[in-house]
Symmetry: C2
Subunit: 119 residues, 2 copies
Amino acid sequence: MVMPDALRRFKAEVFQALAHPTRIAIIDLLGEKELSAGELMEKLGIEQANISQHLAVLRSRQLLVNRKVGNQVFYSVRDRLLLEVLALMRTYFQNHLTGSLALAREMSSENKRMKATRS
Amino acid sequence: MVMPDALRRFKAEVFQALAHPTRIAIIDLLGEKELSAGELMEKLGIEQANISQHLAVLRSRQLLVNRKVGNQVFYSVRDRLLLEVLALMRTYFQNHLTGSLALAREMSSENKRMKATRS
DNA sequence: ATAGTATATTCGAAGTATCTAATATTCGAA
DNA sequence: TTCGAATATTAGATACTTCGAATATACTAT
């Protein structure tokens, strides 16, 4: 029996939300601790409007929640289960990165550092 | 320290591959057993060219492998870890589906059946 | 009230994804 | 070798995503 289409669309939307390097970086950072939009902007070194747009995507798919404190808006991951999914994916990526040759070349110098750190 | 950009792009590509309802359906079906392109086409009821294109996406990101048997091409999931990721996501979706109101409405009749089946 | 800071939204250009229809390739059987 | 079946690729139309620039909103402090 085939999964209901509505559920497949829902899943696809969540994956779609994760399908951008900047948004992956955002979720990884927020997995450690809550951060304001401005702090994220600083850490990622991208335009204010751009991060705001990416946050809007993650909000609209309900991967993030936010709370206002005065002038600032602090974001965090809505459900830590999502972080477990990402952790599992990390294992997956480690299994297959070396098979991805063009990438391996591009990353040869960053490789050792990476293995020592969390992602 | 921020994750290297090349790695973030690689991850994003994998999520991108999962970011389509038809492709999610394909992976779910192949999680049970190897199937030919034609069998997938039949089960999903979509155009031949279309499924072939979706299979090409999944192949190019190396989520699937294939073997030829005469005229046919059989596909299977390359790494079962990916299926574990999808299984975890199922739990995630169950936690949040009910919060997604428009969807809940759309699915009200399929709901009980769904909980009884694997997805 | 006004100015300043933090964040969100809108707009338009450029790029990417998706679909169908048409065509190409590959293989086995007659 | 030609035919038919299974699959892949290409082409072109349409829809979606992404970006930076400009503008809007919301809140604080003066």
